[in-house]
C-alpha cells in the first residue's frame, strides 16, 4: 500500500493543467460549460464500433487517460444506449453490424446526438465504399450531427468534435 501511495505521489498530477496548452484550455472550459448548460453537467456517450480496425477505439481509451481525463469535463462513456445522450460511431458500417447500429440508435432517448469518428466512419476510408461487405458510411445509415477527421483522430480532436456537436444549434 505504501508503495502505491509512493508511486502516486511520485507521478503527481499529470492531467494537463489547463493553462499549459492554450487551445486545450479554451476547449476544455468550453466543453465543460456546454455540458453543464445542456446536460446538467453530465454527458453520457455510448460507443458503437460498426466495423473499425480498432485504431479509433485506442484513441477513445486515450481520451480517458490521466493526461486528457475527459471525465473532468463531465463526459463519460456508458454501457447502455438507454441513457446515452450521444452515440459515437467508429468504422465503416459493415453489413454485419448495420442492424446492431440501427437498434442502438433506436434505443437512445432524444436528442440522439451522433458523432462519426474517423475517416472510415465518414467515408469508409481505406476499406472503400465500393465494397460488398460495407453497408455505407455512418451517415448512410443513421443521421449524423458531427464528423471527426483522422485515421484515427487524436484524443484532442475527439474532444473538439464532441464540443462542436454540443455547440450546434439545438433542434
Amino acid at each position: 500500500m505504501l508503495r502505491i501511495l509512493h508511486q502516486i505521489m511520485k507521478v503527481g498530477t499529470i492531467t494537463e493543467p489547463l493553462a499549459r496548452n492554450q487551445d486545450f484550455e479554451v476547449l476544455g472550459e468550453q466543453l465543460k460549460s456546454t455540458v453543464k448548460k445542456r446536460f446538467q453537467g453530465s454527458l453520457a456517450i455510448r460507443l458503437v464500433d460498426a466495423g473499425s480496425c480498432n485504431g479509433c477505439e485506442l484513441e477513445i481509451h486515450a481520451a480517458n487517460n490521466a493526461y486528457y481525463d475527459i471525465e473532468r469535463f463531465g463526459v463519460h462513456f456508458t454501457a447502455s444506449p438507454r441513457f446515452a445522450d450521444m452515440l459515437l460511431v467508429t468504422g465503416p458500417v459493415s453489413i454485419n453490424m448495420k442492424t446492431a447500429l440501427e437498434m442502438t440508435y433506436d434505443a437512445m432517448p432524444a436528442p440522439k446526438l451522433v458523432v462519426a469518428m474517423g475517416d472510415c466512419a465518414i467515408n469508409c476510408g481505406i476499406f472503400g465504399q465500393d465494397n460488398y461487405a460495407i453497408a455505407g458510411s455512418v451517415s448512410d445509415i443513421i443521421p449524423v450531427d458531427t464528423i471527426i477527421h483522422g485515421c484515427p483522430p487524436s484524443p484532442t480532436a475527439l474532444i473538439q468534435g464532441i464540443l462542436s456537436t454540443l455547440n450546434q444549434p439545438e433542434g
Binding site: 466495423g51 480496425c53 485504431g55 493526461y67 454485419n96 460488398y132 461487405a133
Partner: protein
C-alpha cells in the same frame, strides 16, 4: 530458383509415405516452399504433418489469377515445424465439383478457416465437424461467394429478406438448471463487437461460444487489384493495434515474392517499431486486466505510460499508433541521432517504471487472488490448438518466429523466451511483463547498433503469378501472410491469418468452469482481435 537452397525436409517426409509433391517454381522464399500435391492426398498430408508435430499455420483458397487459367481453383494449407520451418501445400479443386476433404480431425484450429473457405468460395468441405456459417452471417444471400471472380465485390451486399429470421445455431442445452446469457455484438465497454453465448450453471460457465464476423470488411476482396503501396496501407488496418505487425507481414511477403532484400538499417527500424508496438500493447493490456479486477491504480499508471509512448511516436514517426511507418522495401521514417537518444531514454524509463509497477502488482493480494489460477488452458490443449504469442507461451507452447524464422533484424539479437506452463491469467500477465523487459533490451540494442545506410530498397514488382509467403511475430503472435501478384504488379490475392484466428479458440476453453463475472478478466488477458479475425 536455386533448388539447392530449397527446404526439402517435408517433401521427403511426405515421399516416405507415398505422397508425391512438386515444387512450385513461382513461389518464394525457397526456405518456405510451396508444394503441389494430389487432391486425394490432402487429408493424408495433414495427418502426416500432425504426426511430425508440425503446427497448422493456415488453410485458405484462391482462384487462379487473371493472368492464368482463371477458372482454376486451389486450396492451400501451411504448417510450421520449430526447426524445419514453414511449408505450404497446394492442391487443385475439381471445378466440376467444388469439394475438398476437411483436415479438422487432425487440426481443430482448421475448422473456422475451412468454414471461411466454404463461406467465401462455396467450396464444400467434406466431413467438416461444424457445418455452420462463420463470417458469412445468416442474412446474406445464400449464393454469395465473395472471393470468386464472378462475384461483384463492388456492390454492397443486401440482406436476403427470407433469411432475416434465421438464427445462428448455438450449442443448445436442455437441462433446466442451465441458463443462457447472450452478450453482444455491442459490448458494454469501449471494445470491438462480437457475440458470446454463455451456458451457465449458477455462477459458473459451462460453455461459451463465440460468434464473430461482425466487423467483416471484405479485406481479402478489396485487396485484389490494389497497388502495393495502397495494399500496405490497407494491411496496416487489418487490426489497428497491430499495425506494425500487419504492415511488416504484408511488406515482407511482397519483398519475398519480388526477391528483394531491404537495407539493414530499415530492418532495424522495423524491429524497433514492432517492439515498441509490443510494449505499448502489453502495457495497455496489463492496465486493462487489472482494471477489470477493480485495481484501477494500475490502469491509470499503465495508460499514462502508453500515452507517453504514443506522444513520442507522433514526434518520431508521425503517428501515435505507428500507422503507415513501413514502406514496401523499407521504412517511411529515418531516425536522427537525436531521436535515437530520445527513444533510448524513454524505453529505459518505461522499462524501469514497469518494473516498479510489477512489484506493486505482485505484492497486492486483492489482484493476485483474482488472477492466479483464473482461466487456464493446459499444455496439451495449447499444443493441440497451436496457441500463439503470449497466450501460447503462458501454456507451454512456444512458437516464436523471431527465434525460429530469425528474420532480420532478429538474427542479430538474442531473444529470451518466457516459458510459462500454468496457463492462467496470472501466467499471461507474467509473460507480458517479461516481454516488455525483453523488448526494451532489444530496442536499446537495435538503437545503439543501428547500421548506417539507406532505409529503402527499390521496388520491382514480380511477374504475374508469383507468390510470396512470410510469418512475422507481431505483439500478439505469428501473423502469416501469403500474397500472389497479378498483372502490372497489382495484388491478385492476399491471405493473412492474424494470431487471433487461432487464439480465440483458446478463450473458449479457458472460460469453462470460470465464474461468469471473471469472464472480462480472462478475455482481456487474451485480448484477441475481432477485426483481425473478421477481416
Amino acid at each position: 530458383m536455386t533448388t539447392g537452397l530449397s527446404n526439402t525436409w517435408f517433401a521427403e517426409r511426405l515421399g516416405d509415405h507415398g505422397i508425391h509433391s512438386q515444387y512450385l517454381e513461382d513461389h518464394h522464399p525457397a526456405h518456405m516452399p510451396c508444394l503441389e500435391i494430389r487432391r486425394l492426398d490432402w487429408a493424408h498430408a495433414a495427418e502426416e504433418a500432425k504426426r511430425l508435430e508440425m503446427r497448422l499455420v493456415g488453410v485458405w483458397a484462391a482462384q487462379a489469377g487473371y493472368h492464368d487459367d482463371q477458372k482454376q481453383l486451389y486450396t492451400y494449407m501451411a504448417f510450421a515445424h520449430p526447426e524445419h520451418r514453414h511449408v505450404i501445400l497446394r492442391t487443385t479443386v475439381n471445378i466440376e465439383k467444388l469439394e475438398i476433404p476437411s483436415i479438422s480431425s487432425h487440426y481443430i484450429s482448421a475448422c473456422r478457416m475451412e468454414r471461411h473457405i466454404q463461406d467465401m468460395f462455396g467450396i464444400t468441405i467434406q466431413n467438416i465437424p461444424d457445418t455452420r456459417l462463420w463470417l458469412k452471417h445468416e442474412h446474406w444471400p445464400e449464393d454469395a461467394t465473395p472471393l470468386m471472380h464472378d462475384f461483384d465485390g463492388k456492390i454492397s451486399l443486401s440482406s436476403d429478406p427470407n433469411r432475416a429470421d434465421i438464427d445462428y445455431d448455438y450449442v443448445p442445452c436442455d437441462s433446466e438448471s442451465v441458463y443462457e446469457i447472450p452478450v453482444g455484438p455491442v459490448h458494454a465497454g469501449i471494445i470491438e463487437p462480437g457475440h458470446f453465448r454463455f451456458l451457465a450453471v449458477g455462477e459458473k460457465i459451462l460453455n461459451m461460444e463465440e460468434r464473430l464476423g461482425y466487423v467483416h470488411k471484405g479485406i481479402e476482396k478489396t485487396m485484389q487489384g490494389r497497388k502495393v503501396d495502397n495494399g500496405l496501407k490497407l494491411a496496416g488496418r487489418v487490426s489497428g493495434d497491430s499495425t506494425v505487425g500487419h504492415s511488416w507481414a504484408f511488406a515482407q511477403a511482397c519483398e519475398y515474392a519480388a526477391n528483394i532484400s531491404i537495407p539493414k538499417r530499415a530492418s532495424y527500424i522495423r524491429g524497433i517499431l514492432c517492439e515498441r508496438e509490443r510494449i505499448a500493447n502489453h502495457i495497455g493490456d496489463i492496465g486493462a486486466i487489472c482494471n477489470d479486477a477493480a485495481f484501477a491504480f494500475m490502469h491509470v499508471q499503465c495508460s499514462r505510460l502508453r500515452e507517453d509512448m504514443a506522444r513520442l511516436h507522433a514526434q518520431a514517426f508521425g503517428h501515435r499508433l505507428l500507422m503507415d511507418t513501413l514502406k514496401i522495401g523499407g521504412v517511411a521514417y529515418d531516425l536522427s541521432a537525436e531521436t535515437c537518444q530520445q527513444l533510448i531514454q524513454q524505453t529505459r524509463h518505461i522499462a524501469a517504471e514497469v518494473e516498479r509497477l510489477r512489484d506493486i502488482y505482485a505484492d497486492t493480494p486483492s489482484i493476485q487472488q483474482r488472477v492466479i489460477g483464473a482461466g487456464t488452458v493446459n499444455v496439451n490443449d495449447a499444443k493441440d490448438i497451436g496457441l500463439l504469442g503470449y497466450v501460447g507461451r503462458a501454456s507451454g507452447h512456444y512458437p516464436d518466429e523471431r527465434i525460429e524464422e530469425a528474420y532480420a533484424p532478429y538474427d542479430d539479437l538474442d531473444i529470451p523466451m518466457p516459458q510459462g506452463k500454468l496457463g492462467g491469467v496470472s501466467t499471461r500477465v507474467w509473460v507480458r511483463f517479461e516481454e516488455i523487459a525483453n523488448a526494451s533490451r532489444m530496442i536499446i540494442q537495435l538503437l545503439e547498433t543501428l547500421p548506417e545506410g539507406d532505409i529503402q530498397s527499390e521496388w520491382k514488382a514480380p511477374q504475374a503469378g508469383v507468390s510470396g509467403f512470410t510469418a512475422i511475430e507481431s505483439w500478439r503472435g505469428e501473423i502469416a501472410a501469403w500474397v500472389r501478384f497479378g498483372k502490372d504488379g497489382l495484388i491478385d490475392r492476399y491471405f493473412v491469418r492474424d494470431p487471433s484466428t487461432i487464439n480465440w479458440l483458446g478463450l473458449e476453453l479457458a472460460v469453462r468452469t470460470v465464474p461468469v463475472p471473471d469472464f472480462p478478466l480472462v478475455n482481456k488477458s487474451f485480448n484477441c482481435s475481432y477485426a483481425g479475425n473478421d477481416l
